[in-house]
């Protein structure tokens, strides 16, 4: 990816990445509309398999955008890691704590919510 000659055109690669991103979005939308029961109603890692698929596809899209559109691969390794590793660590940390806390509140509060009148 590192373009040593500044002046070569990457048009072909850009359209290829556009194709990949569109394809992933299309798959997401189709899965989101159909919601196959075998994926939607089965439990896996605390949520449905479908949600895990969505999450993975989203991360793949994020990778393609940062690596091929934002050209982070062309930056020096130190700058790249300062941005990517920091973001990944803090976001994963934050999300883990908040989601654990959320399910805990649900465990405690859920049974107390009145649903029959």
């Amino acid at each position: 990816m590192a373009h040593t000659q500044e002046h070569t055109s990457h048009t072909k690669l850009i359209w290829k990445v556009f194709g990949i991103l569109s394809l992933i979005t299309l798959v997401e939308v189709i899965l989101g509309i159909i919601k196959p029961e075998s994926l939607h109603l089965t439990h896996f890692l605390g949520t449905s398999i479908l949600n895990i698929i969505f999450l993975v596809l989203t991360l793949v899209k994020a990778y393609y955008i940062t690596w091929f559109f934002m050209h982070i691969a062309d930056e020096k390794k130190n700058l790249r890691r300062a941005v990517v590793w920091t973001a990944l660590f803090l976001i994963v940390y934050l999300a883990t704590l908040l989601l654990l806390e959320g399910s805990y509140i649900n465990d405690v509060l859920g049974p107390l919510t009145k649903w029959n009148y």
Binding site: F18, E28, G32, T66, F69, H71, L79, L90, L99, Y117
Partner: protein, 326 residues
């Protein structure tokens, strides 16, 4: 300032972009760190949304039932189509942006101008779509009843499909008029009365034996809202407080008000980023036209604004996943 600086050598450390720490110009490096901090800000918002969603995991609104509109397809149940279109628009404007950056590397002014122009158009289309999406959410689709404790009751027919309040509410003549300053106390007034009152809804419900209600509660087996048998429905309706149509920051006909709050705040914050991105793109676009970067010898400014624009696209990828897909 002179007295606080030990030597003058410190002054030109950054030297107008000639020095390149970490191999990137000062401006570009700072754009990366701004993007990092902005990414963490968005994660904070989406994380808070996740916390509340997990807290109310058994009663959160189902996105497929909320965002069902598509232009020119009135009354058709079209979940996801519109937001998919918006996503494509934004991805495509990201592509034209990266093509503009690429053309900048080759010092091709005409191409940079053309692709910047397309990018701006894409951004504008996205903003318009966002406004339309908000309009539909604010106006609502079916209407619902809010109970005294804030829970939402929606009305469904025998097949379990939602029905609008207008389709069954029984008009009852009422002498109640809107309290405006000229009619009552001069320092008190109220907002416009709702078109349908709670009484009209309940009387209409009694007159239509095929109808029943559903609550916010989700059946974990089917991942659908629980439908209450008609025999038990009056127990819920006796707790009615008011009619809710559409969504705003204090009420939401689709369920939890928090859902509306987070939706408005996060998509609004993202939309504001898109707006500022479009404005910055326009400024850079005119700079390209008058040849500022041609004279400077490089199009790095296009690259920097491109970074911001791709970041906006990147955030949308996550907003799309967490609000519409999962």
């Amino acid at each position: 300032m002179e007295s606080t600086i030990a030597t003058n050598a410190n002054r030109d450390n950054w030297d107008g972009g000639k020095k390149k720490p970490l191999g990137a110009s000062y401006g570009k490096m700072m754009m990366w760190f701004f993007i990092l901090s902005d990414a963490i800000t968005f994660s904070g918002f989406l994380g808070a949304y996740g916390l509340m969603r997990f807290k109310f995991i058994d009663s959160w609104p189902i996105a497929d039932e909320v965002f069902t509109h598509f232009p020119f397809l009135h009354g058709l149940h079209a979940p996801m189509y519109y937001v998919a279109l918006m996503t494509f628009v934004l991805i495509f404007s990201s592509v034209t942006m990266v093509l503009a950056v690429d053309a900048g590397h080759q010092m091709n002014k005409a191409k940079v101008t053309f692709y910047m122009f397309l990018t701006i158009i894409g951004g504008a289309i996205f903003l318009g779509s966002q406004a339309w999406e908000w309009k539909n959410f604010i106006n609502g689709s079916y209407g619902a009843i809010q109970m005294n404790d804030g829970k939402i009751i929606q009305f469904v027919d025998a097949e379990g499909h939602q029905v609008t309040l207008e389709s069954f509410a029984k008009p009852i003549a009422s002498e109640r008029t809107q309290h405006i300053k000229s009619k009552g106390l001069w320092f008190v007034e109220e907002t416009a009365l709702p078109a349908i009152t709670v009484n009209e809804v309940i009387e209409g419900f009694k007159a239509h034996p095929e109808l029943t209600i559903r609550t916010e509660q989700i059946n974990p087996e089917l991942k659908q809202k629980m439908i209450i048998p008609r025999a038990n429905a009056m127990g819920y309706l006796n707790e009615s407080k008011k009619v809710v149509v559409g969504a705003n920051l204090s009420e939401n006909e689709y369920g939890k008000t928090l859902f509306a709050d987070f939706f408005f705040f996060i998509t609004g914050f993202h939309g504001f980023h898109v707006l500022s991105g479009v404005i910055i793109n326009i400024i850079i676009f005119f700079n390209v036209i008058i040849g500022t970067y041609e004279r400077r010898g490089h199009y790095e400014m296009v690259e920097k604004v491109g970074l911001y624009w791709h970041f906006v696209d990147l955030v949308w990828v996550f907003v799309f996943t967490f609000f519409y897909l999962v």
